[in-house]
């Protein structure tokens, strides 16, 4: 294809820029509850985010990338003009990237996912034709935006109620925390391993049958649990600390759980959000190489690695500071609540990643926080801010779409 190298270069540059933006801004939200609950230090948060964002992106980012890359477009319609998809995908990356840059400068809460989906639907529907969009698929994505915060809220509610019943309401909460926290740790390890095994290892070249996957997931859950138990046993309890607030030492045990949950959250975020950057990039690369938007073409693993790398670089350069601000902005969040909210969100996001649904991690986390709040677990939740965050996607969709349409026609005119 003519200009193939140029297209690929542009796609990689724009994709990297987008991934960089995710690392610089979005990761902070994913780590907010963990840092805010003071269970992990800023340094630990950055180390965890670096490792697990990359692992999530590389190992479990494939499904959502597939959706963004080709799931929303009708390939039959585009067979004659594959370069239109190239322009459109480049335009989508540009529009989402620029919109995110403006929004974060202004302090508006926007979702990367919503801007990229809005952009792709926008260029395809207006630039190519209404029929070029797989509306059924887009419909299910939009539905998942409603379902994901609700689901994660429900999980958070139930998780927190279980923590209350099993541990906090007992007269010896420390004893029960020692007994049940490892169970939660196992749950975290098991869920994340399972999704990775089922959805992630294919493109790394490893394919196992279902029962082997379950066995490995259980085994890695147990290994993580043992690490957690060792960590809990090394904790030093100070009876003096319980004098003013009787749950200081119990919360220390939850701190260990929070740390492990933070890893899961970073993993989940990486697995879902990397697609926003590398999905369009992957589309451009595969069309440039093959000349068609093939429904069956496999995703080159290096593309996920590039996305993961972009996120990590953004995190290193800029995200650190944002995490610090977000972390200090949160007071009165204890690890027991932070854990319930974060695990609920991580689980929901990981499931969505496995199903190939691009959802907003931030919205999912907000839903989880509300779930804990409804269980009377939160000191104070500012409902007005919650409303702003949820409203923002209604604005983000058309803005992403309009920008993408403009860039689409611009690129079409240039080439």
């Amino acid at each position: 294809m003519e200009y193939a190298t140029l297209y690929i270069t542009l796609a990689v540059v724009f994709g990297l820029f987008m991934a960089w933006g995710i690392g610089a801004n979005d990761v902070a939200n994913a780590m907010a509850t963990s840092v805010g609950s003071k269970a992990i230090t800023l340094k630990q948060a950055i180390i965890i985010a670096t490792i697990f964002e990359f692992a999530g992106a590389y190992l479990a980012g494939g499904e959502v990338t597939k959706t963004i890359r080709k799931g929303m477009l009708n390939s039959d319609m585009l067979a004659n003009d594959p370069q239109l998809v190239i322009y459109g995908m480049l335009a989508s990356l540009l529009s989402a990237g620029i919109w995110l840059l403006i929004a974060s400068r202004k302090g508006w809460p926007v979702s990367t996912t919503h801007s990229i989906v809005g952009a792709i639907v926008g260029f395809a529907a207006v630039g190519i034709g209404i029929e070029a969009v797989q509306w059924v698929k887009v419909g299910s994505i939009v539905a998942s935006w409603v379902v994901s915060p609700v689901l994660s809220g429900l999980i958070a509610f139930l998780l927190f109620i279980s923590v209350q019943r099993l541990i906090l309401e007992k007269s010896e909460p420390i004893k029960y925390a020692r007994r049940y926290v490892p169970v939660y740790i196992f749950l975290v390890g098991f869920i994340v391993s399972l999704v990775t095994l089922f959805k992630g290892l294919k493109h790394v070249g490893l394919e196992l049958d279902a029962s082997t996957n379950y066995l490995i997931a259980i085994a890695s859950g147990i290994i993580i649990t043992i690490i957690g138990i060792i960590k809990i046993n090394s904790l030093k309890f100070d009876p003096e600390a319980d004098r003013d607030f009787h749950f200081t030492n119990v919360e220390k045990i939850f701190g260990v759980l929070m740390m492990i949950t933070a890893c899961a959250m970073a993993f989940a975020h990486g697995s879902n959000d990397v697609a926003n950057a590398v999905g369009p990039m992957a589309a451009v690369v595969s069309i440039s190489n093959t000349g068609v938007l093939a429904q069956k073409s496999a995703l080159a693993p290096w593309i996920l690695a590039v996305g993961g790398l972009g996120i990590v670089v953004g995190l290193m350069m800029y995200g650190k500071r944002v995490i610090a601000t977000v972390g200090t902005g949160i007071t009165d969040l204890t690890p027991s609540r932070g854990f319930a909210a974060t695990l609920a969100a991580a689980t929901t996001v990981v499931i969505a990643s496995g199903t190939g649904l691009p959802i907003s991690t931030t919205h999912t986390l907000v839903g989880a926080v509300l779930g804990v709040g409804i269980a009377r677990g939160m000191g104070a939740v500012n409902m007005r801010v919650v409303k702003t965050i949820f409203m923002s996607w209604i604005i983000t969709l058309p803005v992403g779409a309009v920008l993408a349409i403009i860039f689409f026609y611009l690129l079409k005119a240039v080439f």
Partner: protein
């Protein structure tokens, strides 16, 4: 920053400021003990000094009250009902107001209490301070209640505290009746207006225990939500 918006959904919990306010109120009410020592000894310079303390502590509590109210706009999701919380705050504040009013009235009239009631009065004031102190102990459990989500053994603990508060208040009622009885026997020897004000002061001191008890009852309502 996008991130800042997210962290903004976590408001700061009103529990700690509420407890701080109660701490100030108790500091104010506790001054009544040295104040009555001075009054009964007819040491009016000392009494005035202590009154100034009471008055300034009451004002400080007032400032805390206003700050807390401003930090609780509508549309904030709390583990307890916003109305109950504001109600508790108002009542806590009334305790301090009541202490200041009683002390002010005594100082303004330079009231001299008959010997026969002096020691009873002293005990009475102390018990009323005890009631407020017990209300404070109860309010101090609110952060633990939030932590446990208002469930389990913490509830039993708080209910025990509320029962103790009720019994202290009951105690003050009894002392109040006893003082009135003594005063009734000697009231004819006292200047009538003075006697009238003495009854008023005795009632006013009792109010401190009453309001303290009501703080406990409101907390009980919070548990029941």
């Amino acid at each position: 920053m996008v991130g800042n918006v997210f962290s903004n959904i976590f408001g700061s919990s009103p529990v700690h400021p509420l407890q701080q306010h109660m701490g100030k109120v108790i500091a104010c009410v506790s001054e009544l003990s040295p104040y009555f020592d001075a009054v009964l000894a007819k040491d009016w310079t000392q009494a005035e000094q202590t009154y100034n303390n009471i008055s300034s502590l009451e004002q400080q509590a007032d400032v805390l009250k206003k700050e807390l109210r401003l930090s609780l706009p509508k549309g904030i999701m709390l583990p307890v009902s916003r109305r109950d919380l504001l109600e508790v705050l108002t009542m806590q504040d009334k305790i301090a107001n009541q202490a200041k009013d009683v002390a002010g009235l005594i100082l303004g009239r330079k009231m001299e209490f008959p010997e026969q009631v002096a020691s009873m009065l002293k005990n009475y004031v102390q018990r009323c301070i005890d009631a407020s102190d017990q209300a404070k102990t109860t309010i101090n459990e609110l952060d633990e209640l939030v932590e446990t989500g208002f469930r389990g053994s913490e509830i039993d603990l708080v209910e025990k505290m509320i029962r103790k508060l009720d019994s202290i208040e009951h105690d003050t009622d009894k002392i109040q009746r006893d003082i009135r009885q003594v005063l009734y026997k000697i009231e004819k020897e006292l200047p009538p207006v003075d006697a009238m004000f003495m009854y008023k002061i005795i009632e006013g001191i009792g109010e401190i225990a009453d309001i303290s008890q009501r703080v406990g009852s409101r907390l009980q309502l919070m548990l029941a939500r």
